[in-house]
């Protein structure tokens, strides 16, 4: 059991969790992720670690409620717990002194890009941040990003905040101005990352994306997360999650990520019909797990007799 120490809402259906996981907190580096299972009938989902505090023994996850599991997770709060949490998985971001680095976060992708942006800054880079969202509500971590970047651009699709447009617009502008860019990290929806890759490809600017393919174990065992790259198939869990943006077959990624779209929609519908029941189930599970193993053993025994 991994206890939720704190939880707060950042934006509609986007929540920040601080979770007690001392071993992971000690080891995690920017760019790595965890796999989490909320309850005993739950699925395993990968989530990139947004931050960590080795002294406090906690990690931070920022979750957008999209499917059943993330919506259920977002109904939990401080004092609740998730059943399983494993990590840190994947390779850490390649953080070095590059010179000028542009870090682009779209929607909840900003949460994933933030720790690496911070690490880029600490490594002495000139960090340019671009934070975008569909609308004002979906621009997250603006203050945090402002604190660790040298320049920050905000964009919204609808113009409700910052400049109207896409995250690639400030990037295109910088390139047009002839500014020297040494490294780009783009994290967000697949189509956004693909768009960034297409902008930088003709200019040969090294660009990195963090890919969110479907996963089960996260250790290289199932191969479900495979990404088609120009140098052959790679596993996002152990070879990634970050990849050279110009090597990725995005169409294949989009198709693979849509594999269970019908089932996921059905599960979400069923969940939304009785969400509190599911939360109760999770809390009950926490309660049982908190009991001393011997007490738990005795109760099971009593039941079977």
């Amino acid at each position: 059991m991994f206890k939720i120490a704190r939880a707060e809402i950042l934006a509609p259906d986007i929540k920040r969790f601080v979770i007690e996981a001392p071993r992971i907190a000690r080891k995690r580096q920017a760019g790595q992720f965890v796999i989490l299972r909320v309850h005993d009938h739950g699925e395993r989902i990968p989530l990139t670690i947004a931050d960590g505090d080795p002294e406090a023994g906690t990690i931070t996850l920022i979750v957008q409620g999209i499917g059943k599991t993330t919506k259920l997770l977002n109904m939990l709060g401080a004092g609740d717990a998730v059943l399983d949490l494993v990590g840190p998985l994947g390779k850490p971001s390649d953080v070095r002194l590059f010179g000028t680095v542009v870090v682009i976060g779209g929607g909840v992708g900003t949460a994933i890009a933030y720790p690496t942006a911070k690490a880029f800054k600490l490594a002495g880079n000139h960090v340019v941040g671009v934070v975008g969202g569909r609308n004002r509500d979906l621009v997250i971590l603006e203050e945090e990003m402002r604190a660790i970047t040298d320049e920050l651009f905000i964009t919204t699709d609808d113009g409700s905040y910052g400049q109207k447009g896409l995250v690639i617009d400030p990037l295109k502008h910088m390139i047009a101005e002839g500014r020297k860019i040494d490294e780009i990290l783009a994290i967000g929806p697949v189509r956004m990352m693909q768009a960034v890759a297409e902008v930088t490809r003709p200019h040969h600017i090294h660009t990195v994306v963090s890919l969110n393919s479907l996963m089960v174990d996260g250790t290289g065992m199932c191969g479900g997360c495979r990404i088609v790259t120009t140098s052959g198939p790679r596993f996002a869990c152990v070879d990634g999650p970050e990849f050279d943006a110009h090597s990725v077959d995005y169409e294949n990624l989009v198709q693979r990520n849509r594999m269970y779209v019908q089932r996921e929609a059905q599960e979400l519908r069923e969940f939304m019909e009785h969400p509190t029941e599911c939360v109760e189930h999770v809390r009950e599970g926490c309660h049982l797990e908190h009991q001393h193993p011997e007490v738990r053993g005795a109760t099971t025994e009593a039941k079977s007799q």
Binding site: I24, H41, D84, V216, G218, G220, M221, Q255, E267
Partner: protein, 483 residues
């Protein structure tokens, strides 16, 4: 001198006349729609009748055929005496997972393959009897714990909770060491949980065998990936472990490397089976998704036990056609005869001498067919099997919605890559001394598939026991003069 039990006063000739007892099975028509166990287990009468067939050889060949040297003669004798609990305890002296090995061991090439009865008659059904006594013990709630030596003060970490790790843990705990088993997944058992389907090995049985080990004082930690969550060096230098056994298995799936292999709808057998076995995707009350196989055409590529498990799972998920596609002929299939037979009974269609060359997408980009060529058998290759050769012009498309690649596995580099002084071979498997199972790194041992490449549950268990002895010998001698 051995004593014959009261129930077994028959002469050898009379005993040889008793026919081998058949394993009661769930009806194929029924079972292809459920995940309940196929083999139902012998009855008390069936087991005692079978046990009577044992010739009680002075030099039992069967025991030589057993990788962990279970005292087969003695446990079978105890069955003839009706003392099933004592029979189970006798097995447990050498095998901590009898309910599991009784189900999944390839007895036909081991104990039963060596049984002298097999020369003229059917061999003694050692596997059925092992399963019977282990089930009897469990169902009567009388699983006896072996005697545990007083604490030695030594701490051992075991990386991986599959058969190698569990059997090593059992021996080390009996000898009084403090044992912690680390598992990356959320459930203990490794391949026994994620790989072998419920209909062959009910997970409840694995859980109960693990509970027995827990009762012996073994500590289990799930959700820990050694090499990521904590490294081997940290275990030894910071967490005070005196020895570490790496038993991580051969977990990396192999693919065919043909066009279209990464289309939605193409799975590795590892993924397909893990979604069902570990994550219960077949049960609508669980959230993990799997491609809906109901009414669909599913092809599994491969000829081993994992391929059989995958294709039989696909049939149970409601596949309209469950194809087993193998590039050689049935005679060359590495799968157990029993599994092939069960698959046939369940309506699996065997497409032999067939090899996929590409996976074909439909307009939406999902898998809709598998391009295949027909093969014929040519000259024997290095493995002694006749190698398949493509028949020119034989290409055709087999319509399928789901394809599962079951071509075996290779070494998972996670532990090795974070433990630089752990030497591996060309293929990435850990190098270990075949006798002591010592690796190139002081205090670190390795056993099972991560050393040998993919093998069987029982061979991994045998390796685990050997590693336990190797660790004991290291503790006794206190020296480490190279691997």
């Amino acid at each position: 001198m051995t004593t014959q039990g009261g129930a077994n006063k028959l002469s050898p000739k009379e005993r040889m006349k008793v026919p081998r007892q058949a394993m009661p099975e769930q009806d194929p028509e029924l079972r292809r729609h459920n995940f309940e166990e196929v083999n139902q287990g012998l009855t008390v009468l069936g087991a005692t009748t079978e046990a009577i067939r044992c010739l009680d050889c002075a030099k039992p060949n069967c025991m030589k055929g057993c990788p962990v040297n279970v005292n087969i003669r003695e446990f079978v004798r105890l069955v003839t005496e009706g003392d099933y609990l004592a029979a189970a305890s006798k097995i447990r002296e050498d095998n901590v997972l009898p309910a599991i090995t009784g189900r999944v061991c390839p007895q036909e090439t081991q104990c039963e393959g060596c049984c002298v009865l097999g020369n003229k008659h059917d061999p003694l059904a050692v596997g059925y009897l092992e399963r019977f006594v282990a089930d009897y013990e469990r169902e009567h709630g009388k699983v006896g714990l072996p005697p545990i030596a007083p604490p030695t003060g030594k701490k051992v970490a075991i990386v991986g909770s599959g058969p190698a790790g569990l059997s090593a843990a059992g021996d080390l705990a009996r000898w009084g060491h403090a044992v912690t088993v680390f598992e990356a997944l959320h459930e203990i058992g490794g391949v026994l949980i994620y790989g072998i389907p419920e209909f062959r090995l009910p997970k409840e049985i694995v859980r109960q065998e693990v509970d027995t080990l827990r009762a012996m004082g073994i500590n289990f930690e799930t959700n820990v990936v050694i090499g990521k969550t904590v490294t081997i060096d940290e275990l030894m230098n910071e967490e005070g472990y005196d020895a570490v056994l790496v038993a991580t298995g051969a977990g990396l799936p192999k693919f065919l490397d043909v066009p279209g292999e990464h289309l939605p709808g193409v799975y590795s057998a590892n993924e397909f089976l893990t979604r069902v076995n570990l994550m219960r995707a077949n049960d609508p009350t669980y959230d993990e998704p799997i491609y809906d196989c109901k009414g669909k055409d599913v092809a599994v590529i491969g000829g081993g036990n994992t391929a059989m498990d995958a294709v039989r799972t696909a049939a149970r998920l409601g596949a309209r056609n469950a194809f087993l596609v193998y590039r050689r002929s049935k005679a060359e299939m590495p799968a157990r005869v029993e599994e092939v037979h069960h698959a046939e009974q369940e309506g699996v269609q065997f497409l032999m001498l067939t090899n996929p060359t590409a996976f074909v997408p439909n307009e939406q980009g999902s898998l809709c067919a598998m391009r295949c060529v027909k093969m014929e058998l040519g000259e024997p290759d290095a493995s002694g099997r006749r190698s398949p050769v493509v028949i020119p012009g034989s290409e055709y498309d087999l319509p399928v919605h789901v394809a599962i690649v079951a071509l075996g596995t290779s070494a998972n580099p996670l532990v090795q890559s974070t433990t630089p002084d752990l030497q591996t071979n060309r293929k990435g498997y850990i190098q270990a001394n075949p006798e002591t199972l010592r690796t190139s790194k002081k205090g670190v041992f390795a056993a099972g598939d991560i050393v040998t490449g993919a093998a069987t549950v029982i061979l991994a268990m045998a390796a685990g026991r050997k590693a336990a002895s190797g660790i004991q010998e290291y503790f006794d001698s206190g020296t480490w003069d190279g691997a």
